[in-house]
Point group: C2
Amino acid sequence: MAVEVVYRSSRDPERLFMDKAEADRHDKMLELAESLADVLLKAVPSLNEQQVEDLGIYMAKNRDIFARAFKNQPDALNELSAADTE
Amino acid sequence: MAVEVVYRSSRDPERLFMDKAEADRHDKMLELAESLADVLLKAVPSLNEQQVEDLGIYMAKNRDIFARAFKNQPDALNELSAADTE
C-alpha cells in the first residue's frame, strides 16, 4: 500500500487522472463544453439541458476540427464521421 | 424600366442580393450551417431538423467568434450575448 497523487477536474470529480496534464485537458474541455451549452441554449431555447450538454461535450472533444471548420475549412467536418466511434 | 443583375445562393433562392460578394458570403454561411446541422444531428440524434438547422445557422453567422472559442479563447463566446439581438 502506498499513498499516490491523483488529479481531477472540479467540474467532474468522479474522473481521476494519474497525469496532471491529462486532468488539465479534461478540465479545459469541460469548461469549453459548458460555455458552448450556455450560448446554444440561449440561441435555440427549445433545446433541453441534456441536449445542450451533449452538444457542448461533443464539440469540445472535437474542438480542433470545429476550429478549422469555423475558420475556413468547412470540409474539416467530414473528418467527424470517421472519428464518430471514438 | 431596366434589366438589372441580382445574385442569389442556390441554397436560398428567395433571398436576392445586389452585390455578388454579399451573395457569396450568404452562400458560404449556409454551406457551413448545413454541414454543421448534419454533424450535430448525428452526434445528438434526439435533436429535430428545425433545431439543428437553427443551431447551424446561428453558429455559421457567428463563425468568427466560434472559430476563436474553439481555437483557444473560450471567453470569445461571451461576445455572443452582446450580439444576440443582431
